[in-house]
């Protein structure tokens, strides 16, 4: 493993975290970047540590030929896709494995990505294993008439179930990360929304397939973090709660563990539900012989009913809050799930089992984004002139925004600025610390008309009070 060299096929803070994991494992790495990202912190960090030859300018992060050409040129033996881009692209993973000069894809086997990458297929496998799933289509719909008929059935079913304001979700089948989803509350506007999502899906993903499912209201969005090896070992790193999201269903505040009965009195047995979703997730992972890190996404309704949403066959943005509350008795120091992901992808055994994993405290992730919360979370474009926060022993901040020079936010990508990971011995302490961090963070900047920067710092401050509660 020490001889492996990783090409990091991603950008921003995740590239920085992968670099850190490589460093801890003693692995060499190279990064790639686009013209728009030339001032990004990940490029600077790589060139400072490894020299100019460690950063390659490419045309596009989404062009596999670019990644493989640079991999060959610099002798990389493995590719880390991060999240987004190629992380859940089974064709990319298959090509990495099948080319004349194979390189290791740091993620699950391509067959697993293919089978679980499709929400529809996941739903089918889950149903067969008696794992609860959300009512709706279990294959992409391309016909407007078929879509409308299913929508009608779903509205009818909700009325029969006594749902006061029935609604459905129309989703781009090939989408993910909350993009390309709209809610429909009346059947008479369904066609209009269907056409809009179909157009969006065609433009963004090249596939106009659409999914339709019942829109669950009043629920919490939970996740189960699994780590599996190529040697059929399965370990879980607990649960997370990702309920606080923007209107576009982009996560903004995440908490580990997923529920905390010592902090909130739930109208159901919270620990039992957490154990249940972990058990279901492991059941599915074993069925498909899952072999890397993965996240099982769940929704849990106010009455404590869990439904499997999807499986993300990659490292998640929020992985570190799970790592932050996890302790491995055979390990010294903090858990690093990206490091574990690389190790297992390169064929190593875990060297520990579930009985060696314990949990301590609460961790909160805050996603700092340049966006106008009051205008529907509209992204803000401009130049950041000041980005400062106070260093604390209970805090980790990951950002590609330089702290010593102006930084123009590229309009090609999400306007995410930083991730802050806070730990506390219990939820109350984690909350207090999260607020303290936000109060001591300063971000300044201007757009091209000279107007001051807009960020979500105040929104995050308000939302910290809502964590883990059904509000």
């Amino acid at each position: 493993m020490k001889r492996d060299k990783i090409i990091i096929a991603n950008r921003g803070e995740i590239a920085i975290r992968i670099m850190r994991a490589c460093r801890q494992l003693g692995l060499d790495y190279v990064v790639v970047y686009t013209e728009e990202d030339r001032h990004s912190g990940h490029v600077r960090a790589a060139t400072v540590e490894k020299g100019k030859g460690a950063a390659f300018k490419i045309a596009n992060y989404k062009d596999p030929n670019e990644i493989f050409a640079v991999a060959d040129h610099c002798g990389a033996t493995a590719v880390h896709p991060g999240y987004g881009f190629f992380s859940e692209d089974f064709r990319f993973a298959r090509r990495a494995a099948a080319r004349n000069r194979p390189i290791t894809f740091i993620g699950p086997r391509w067959e697993v990505i293919r089978d679980l990458g499709s929400k529809i297929n996941t739903k089918r496998i889950a149903k067969a294993l008696k794992i609860p799933v959300i009512p709706g289509s279990d294959e992409p719909i391309y016909s407007e008439l078929e879509a409308e008929s299913l929508a009608e059935d779903l509205f009818q079913k909700q009325r029969e179930d006594g749902v006061k304001r029935p609604s459905i979700l129309v989703k781009a089948s090939a989408g993910g990360g909350g993009m390309g989803i709209e809610e429909v509350t009346h059947l008479d506007v369904f066609r209009q929304v269907y056409r809009r999502i179909q157009n969006y899906a065609k433009r963004q993903f090249g596939d106009e397939g659409v999914l339709i499912e019942q829109c669950m209201k009043d629920y919490h969005h939970l996740e189960v973090q699994l780590l599996c090896s190529r040697h059929k070992e399965v370990v879980h790193f607990g649960t997370r709660n990702c309920t606080i999201q923007s209107t576009g269903r982009q996560k903004r505040v995440e908490v580990a563990p997923g529920f905390d009965p010592d902090y909130v009195a739930y109208p159901f047995d919270a620990q039992k539900v957490l154990d249940q979703i972990v058990e279901y997730s492991i059941r599915l992972a074993k069925e498909v012989e899952y072999d890397n890190v993965g996240t099982w996404e769940w929704i849990v309704t106010r009455d404590g009913k869990p439904y499997l949403l999807e499986v993300n066959t990659r490292i998640q943005v929020e992985n570190e809050i799970s790592a932050c509350i996890s302790r491995i008795s055979r390990y010294k120091g903090p858990v690093n799930l990206i490091k574990e992901q690389i190790r297992t992808a390169l064929g190593e055994k875990l060297r520990y089992s579930q009985k060696h994993v314990s949990f301590e405290g609460t961790s909160i992730e805050l996603r700092i984004v340049a966006e106008d919360v009051k205008r529907g979370f509209a992204p803000w474009c401009g130049t950041i002139t000041r980005f400062e926060f106070r260093q604390e022993p209970w805090l980790r901040v990951y950002s590609h925004v330089p702290q010593d020079e102006p930084y123009e936010i590229p309009t090609e990508y999400d306007p995410n600025l930083a991730l802050a990971i806070v730990w506390g011995k219990d939820t109350e302490e984690a909350k207090t610390r999260a607020k303290e961090f936000l109060l001591n963070t300063n971000i300044e900047g201007k757009d091209n008309l000279g107007r001051p920067i807009v960020t979500n710092l105040q929104y995050l401050y308000r939302k910290v009070d809502d964590i883990l509660r059904f509000v």
């Binding site: 686009t34 013209e35 390659f56 300018k57 490419i58 045309a59 596009n60 062009d63 030929n65 670019e66 493989f68 050409a69 640079v70 060959d72 040129h73 993009m179 056409r195 157009n199 969006y200 433009r203 963004q204 576009g248 509209a378 992204p379 474009c381 309009t411 090609e412 990508y413 999400d414 306007p415 091209n448």
Partner: protein, 214 residues
């Protein structure tokens, strides 16, 4: 808006050139095919179907990409030292000094005559499905625009925003982008001509055609 066509033509006549930097579109190994100072031609044929002079070959993943000249002119500032080496995306390889022809002069001057609707942000732009369909259905039919008409989709940071037209009512005379192009902030997207100005624009084009010698 008053346009002094005589002065404009004089300006272009004194320096009728544009320099085009030729950069690598992606990574790969470069094999240069031209010399410094060499004359090169752009695409030719009725539909520009015959490619221009081969400038260099960029080989990536065993696939050679033939980069041909999009402009007629001559090669300057050729970076011969790149020949045979692996380059990153966006690496400058040469400049092509191109002499503007009659149609290009018309295009440049039109930008000063038409009302230009610029890109509000650096983003990708698309016509709305309704406008696209109308253009597709009858390519010759004029598209009339008035303030508030939803005409474009701006795709920025993975979010789509509908753009309404802002400016004087008129006919969509010129489109400066291709479906889904990434356009810099402030660059022209659409050129609009008011109905009363149309005869003047047509006359101006006629005059340039007569006066400009290719």
């Amino acid at each position: 808006m008053e346009i002094n066509l005589k002065d404009l033509l004089k300006k272009y006549k004194s320096h009728p050139y544009e320099d085009h930097e030729i950069r690598t579109p992606h990574t790969g190994v470069v094999h240069i095919n031209v010399e410094d100072g060499q004359e090169v031609s752009g695409p030719t044929g009725l539909w520009n179907h015959r490619p221009g002079t081969l400038l260099y070959v960029l080989e990536r993943e065993g696939n050679p990409k033939h980069i041909t000249s999009k402009y007629t002119g001559f090669v300057t500032k050729l970076r011969k030292e790149l020949d045979g080496s692996f380059v990153q995306a966006g690496e400058p390889v040469m400049l092509i000094r191109h002499r503007l022809n009659k149609e290009e002069i018309i295009d440049r001057i039109l930008r000063e005559v038409l009302y230009i609707f610029p890109a509000p942000q650096r983003a990708r732009y698309f016509f709305t499905p309704e406008v696209s369909a109308a253009m597709e259905k009858d390519k010759k039919k004029a598209i009339n625009l008035k303030e508030g008409d939803e005409i474009l989709i701006m795709s920025l940071m993975k979010r789509d925003t509908l753009l309404s037209y802002e400016g004087p009512a008129g006919v969509l005379y010129k489109v400066y982008f291709k479906h889904g192009d990434l356009m810099e902030q402030g660059t022209p997207l659409l050129g609009i001509c008011s109905p009363e100005r149309l005869p003047f624009v047509e006359k101006m084009i006629q005059r340039i055609r007569t006066e400009w010698d290719d």
